[in-house]
């Protein structure tokens, strides 16, 4: 069995090259069909995301196929082979399996632990399935990869914590309020990060959003976009009264929210907790506000620190994930080795012998009524029938295994007789 994986990712190739390759493949041709046209290729898969372009193939031999697959990439990369060659990585067999497991588990992603990649690998696999370009080997490897990815997600905290400032703010809000449903957000000023945070909060169940902007027209526009209400910028103190979460990102040179303002706002209302996110530089909220009871103030540096720490945690968790992947690659290797003909014949014999023995034991009471001689004859008969039945499959298997491409045959054989436990 030869498993070959060739590809390039965000670490090995600049965006322009990946872009060219993936565009060319998507627009002009059917990459899977093209790979399947290479004579020695039995199964193929093509994965293309914004951070990687990879092909995975199962072929009857290695060197020639590698050249053909590289040729396929050079052709679509539309660049001199020497230049492309530098960007490529090539893995065979176990290493190819390991790389695939790493990719599916999001260890190889730009943002380690991001959840989309698994879906993208699944899509790529289903496209191959649709085109009947997968067989016993790729099916097994890919399903194994999905299982590994799931294991990594549940057993490590690799995808656990927020790794973007806006998402970290949402996590923190959940930690403070518990349930965000029914909570109100006040968005002061505008900007990419504050709008993103507001959007995350809305997705997490926040029900009301109020927008204050020095340019009222801009506030109206955002209010429409977020389905919220626009407030007068000059009455910030009043607006604070009805807010649970405040996101501030104005270009004001000084503090626009002072301790007195917040203190006054808190006294005039029933709700007690206030979470302020100050994304502006220079800061919008007087740091003293954070000293008030039940008021939590985070500025952009605080949030960045959260993100950095989470990133560090993810890298630690990645170590655990690597251990899991090692273990699973080993499991896969064991499965692959079982595909050789001899162990398969041995396990078939073991299985049939077990069945005969079991059935004879079941008939034990009746057998006891027979004489010694008859009993022996029954046993001989039972064994003879079974051996006759499995004789031809075993001969067929031995003959097939002379051919280099026997593994799918052996694998099918194992499945037919249910020789693997899983």
């Amino acid at each position: 069995m030869n498993l070959i994986l060739i590809g390039m990712n965000h670490k090995t190739a600049p965006l322009e090259i990946r872009e060219k390759l993936s565009l060319s493949c998507l627009n002009t041709v059917d990459p899977i069909a093209e790979m399947m046209n290479i004579p020695q290729v039995r199964e193929a898969m093509y994965l293309s995301t914004c951070n990687r372009v990879e092909v995975l193939a199962h072929a009857t031999e290695r060197e020639g196929v590698l050249e053909s697959l590289k040729g396929f990439i050079f052709f679509h990369g539309n660049l001199p082979p020497e230049e492309l060659e530098k960007c490529l990585y090539v893995y065979f067999d176990d290493e190819a399996v390991r790389h695939l497991f790493r990719v599916a588990s999001s260890l190889d992603s730009l943002v380690m632990g991001e959840p989309q990649i698994l879906g993208q690998v699944k899509d790529a696999y289903y496209r191959s399935v649709e085109q009947k370009a997968t067989g016993i080997i790729l099916n097994k490897v890919l399903h194994h990869a999905f299982r590994v990815a799931k294991r990594v997600r549940t057993e490590t905290a690799i995808a656990g914590n927020a790794v973007s400032v806006s998402y970290a703010a949402v996590k923190l809000a959940k930690k403070i309020f518990g349930d965000l449903r029914g909570k109100a957000v006040l968005l002061i000023g505008a900007g990419e990060m504050s709008e993103l945070t507001a959007r995350h909060l809305l997705n997490s169940g926040v029900s009301k959003i109020m927008i204050a902007n020095r340019t009222h027209a801009r506030a109206l526009q955002l209010a429409e976009e977020f389905n919220g209400t626009a407030l007068e910028f000059d009455h910030l103190g009043e607006s604070l009264r009805s807010a649970d979460i405040v996101i501030s990102s104005t270009g004001a040179p000084g503090y626009i929210i002072t301790r007195e303002m917040v203190d006054a706002a808190l006294h005039g209302r029933k709700k007690h907790t206030l979470f302020l996110i100050d994304i502006a530089v220079p800061r919008d909220v007087d740091p003293e506000v954070g000293d008030l009871d039940n008021v939590y103030l985070y500025n952009v540096d605080d949030l960045q620190e959260v993100v950095d720490e989470n990133m560090k945690n993810r890298r630690q968790e990645a170590q655990k994930a690597v251990a899991i992947i090692d273990e699973e690659v080993e499991k896969h290797r064991v499965w692959k080795n079982s595909l050789a003909a001899v162990p398969t014949i041995v396990s078939l014999r073991e299985k049939t012998e077990g069945i005969v023995k079991g059935e004879l034991e079941r008939c034990g009471p009746w057998l006891k009524t027979l004489g010694e001689k008859e009993r022996n004859n029954v046993e001989i008969l039972a064994n003879a029938i079974v051996n006759k039945i499995i004789h031809d499959p075993i001969i067929g298997l031995k003959e097939e295994s002379q051919d280099h491409g026997n593994t799918p045959y052996v694998a099918a054989f194992r499945r037919l007789f249910k020789l693997d436990d899983t």
Partner: protein
């Protein structure tokens, strides 16, 4: 038989505590999940203990120091498990289970001893008095557990520290809610317990209130809780201040319990 139930329950509570501590140390939820099931198991066995004791003594199982402490532990465990069903506050168990285990260890001192029951506490009102007072106190214990966790987390969030630890705790909002609910339920229960006790006191001692040291201290604790509830409901205290006050009142409660039992001779000497 009943002694065996008690021992199994105690062992299970201790293992639960261990499980929660492990879960906090390795920062994994799986250990805490297992602990919750173990906690539930211990709770059931513990209930079996009360049943067995009831059959054996042919009366209310809650008389004397040993029973009262173990009953308190059982009620706390039950309330926590009820919260666990309703809210996602699993890790509160890490604070509750040590309290439960500790109460059980102290209770185990009097395990199996024949309690001579004074005539004054043989009456149909006594079990109600004990059950309501103990349940009220159990709710206060939980309220202050939640309060303590609130204070720890509030400090960590304000100082922007200990994030991986914070991730394991229930949110501030949930903790505040638990604190509030426990106070709201605990206060009327304790009040009713005291009232029933005072009605019984009239039958056995001749008057409703004897100004016994125990009664005085209890009244003081009751007033503290009344004050706390007032601050919460009427003044609108919540979050930080309410948490501080509930922890403080609980400390007063503990001190009064120890002081009256150790330093004073009291009419109310059975518990």
């Amino acid at each position: 038989m009943d002694v065996l139930f008690f021992k199994v329950a105690l062992a299970a509570y201790l293992m639960t505590t261990l499980g929660y501590v492990v879960s906090l140390l390795v920062k994994r939820v799986a250990a805490a999940k297992a602990s919750t099931w173990l906690f539930f198991f211990a709770f059931i066995i513990h209930a079996g203990y009360f049943g067995a004791r009831c059959i054996q003594t042919k009366q209310s199982p809650v008389l004397g120091m040993h029973d009262a402490l173990s009953f308190l532990a059982w009620i706390i465990a039950g309330i926590y498990l009820a919260f666990q069903l309703k809210t996602r506050t699993r890790i509160l168990g890490a604070f509750v289970s040590p309290v439960v285990s500790l109460l059980m260890i102290v209770a185990s001192v009097g395990l199996g001893a024949q309690v001579s029951i004074p005539a004054t506490v043989q009456g149909h009102l006594v079990p109600f008095h004990v059950a309501m007072s103990v349940a009220g106190e159990a709710l206060f214990v939980l309220a202050s557990c939640a309060g303590a966790m609130y204070l720890i987390q509030d400090g960590l969030i304000k100082r922007k520290k200990g994030r991986s630890f914070i991730m394991l705790l229930p949110s501030l909002g949930d903790l505040d809610k638990i604190n509030r609910i426990c106070l709201l339920w605990g206060f009327p229960l304790l009040t009713a317990g005291i009232l029933v006790g005072s009605i019984w006191a009239r039958t056995v001692w001749g008057s409703h209130w004897q100004w016994d040291p125990k009664q005085t201290w209890t009244l003081m604790v009751w007033i503290c809780y009344a004050l706390l509830l007032h601050q919460r409901l009427a003044i609108g205290w919540a979050g930080h201040k309410a948490a501080i006050l509930s922890v403080a009142v609980f400390i007063i409660f503990l001190v009064s319990f120890i002081v009256t039992n150790r330093l004073f001779t009291t009419l109310h000497s059975f518990i």
